[in-house]
């Protein structure tokens, strides 16, 4: 476990996954990479494959089309990994809750697949960049 702690301390690689988001959260994630916040100085980096990722950043409430794809990406992520339910929709389905194609917020869908999954909630529509950084740090402390 010590090696794990050490390796999680720096260089968190994040895979950004959009499960039926309205795109507002996705745009806001990019703001973390701009010079003002620049999370890459902490080693937090967006990667192109879930197999390289330590954390999954899941935007949007999960709909029926995205559910099997989201779970497949989660299966491919090396464990232990952190799942970030991002934005109001990711935390609680938000305004899309009573829609016909929505099967649930991120935690509900994920608990069916893996009841022990580590989930961090970052509410907001979209969340502030400060809140995103804090959320990821809190999640790492939990691991």
């Amino acid at each position: 476990m010590d090696i794990l702690k050490k390796s999680f301390k720096k260089s968190i690689w994040v895979f950004h996954l959009s499960t039926a988001a309205c795109n507002n959260c996705d745009i806001e994630v990019l703001e973390l990479l701009t010079p003002k916040y620049d999370v890459e100085r902490f080693g937090i980096k967006l990667v192109g494959s879930p197999r390289h990722a330590d954390a999954l950043l899941v935007c949007g409430s999960v709909n029926a089309h995205a559910k099997p794809r989201f779970l497949e990406v989660y299966r491919q992520t090396p464990k232990p990994c952190l799942v970030v339910a991002f934005g109001s929709c990711g935390c609680s389905s938000g305004i899309f809750r009573d829609s016909y194609s929505i099967v649930g917020p991120v935690d509900k869908v994920l608990k069916e697949e893996d009841p022990d999954a580590k989930i961090v909630y970052i509410p907001g529509c979209p969340p502030k960049p400060e809140a995103m950084i804090e959320g990821i740090i809190k999640g790492l402390e939990a691991i």
């Binding site: 029926a64 089309h65 559910k67 099997p68 794809r69 497949e72 194609s101």
Partner: protein
């Protein structure tokens, strides 16, 4: 100014389509509503599209409780007008002749009306799902008034069909 032109369009259409339509009205200067029987709809729309040089904006389907109303919105660009062709399809026979058979522009919107409201378009060449998930249960139509969100639960979805 353009008022006279628009009146001419109205008169013209009245004369040409007299036998095919139920009602024609011009509530506003730039808008004409035409009510048509479901069987005559392709004929009227094709006339407006080919002979009258209208362009298709879109078509919309609404659940009116006594049936499903489809409105074809056609733009007459040189006169700055929009012509709406309305037809009410009764619930007892939710069928209409496809216009997409002849005019390609209508195909996608007919597919959408088919999956959202359950209207069958006879003779449509490609009636696959357009925007609903592939795993969505057959025979449920989410934009009907009678549809409740609880009609479709997570168990109803057939994830085998979602391609993963």
């Amino acid at each position: 100014m353009s008022n006279k032109k628009n009146e001419k369009v109205m008169k013209d259409l009245k004369k040409k389509l007299k036998n095919k339509i139920i009602d024609i009205a011009q509530p506003r200067e730039k808008r004409i509503y035409i009510s048509v029987e479901p069987e005559k709809t392709p004929e009227v729309v094709e006339y407006l599209f080919y002979k009258y040089r209208c362009k298709l904006c879109t078509a919309t389907g609404i659940d009116m409780r006594e049936g499903i109303e489809i409105i074809y919105h056609l733009a007459k660009e040189d006169k700055n007008m929009v012509i709406n062709v309305k037809t009410l399809i009764p619930y007892s026979k939710l069928e209409i002749e496809s216009i997409g058979k002849k005019i390609k522009a209508f195909r996608w919107i007919e597919r959408e009306i088919n999956e959202m409201l359950g209207v069958t378009f006879r003779g449509h060449p490609d009636m696959r799902r357009l925007i609903l998930a592939d795993s969505f249960p057959e025979g449920k139509y989410p934009l009907r008034k009678s549809f409740k969100n609880s009609d479709v639960t997570d168990e109803d979805y057939d994830y085998e069909r979602s391609g993963i």
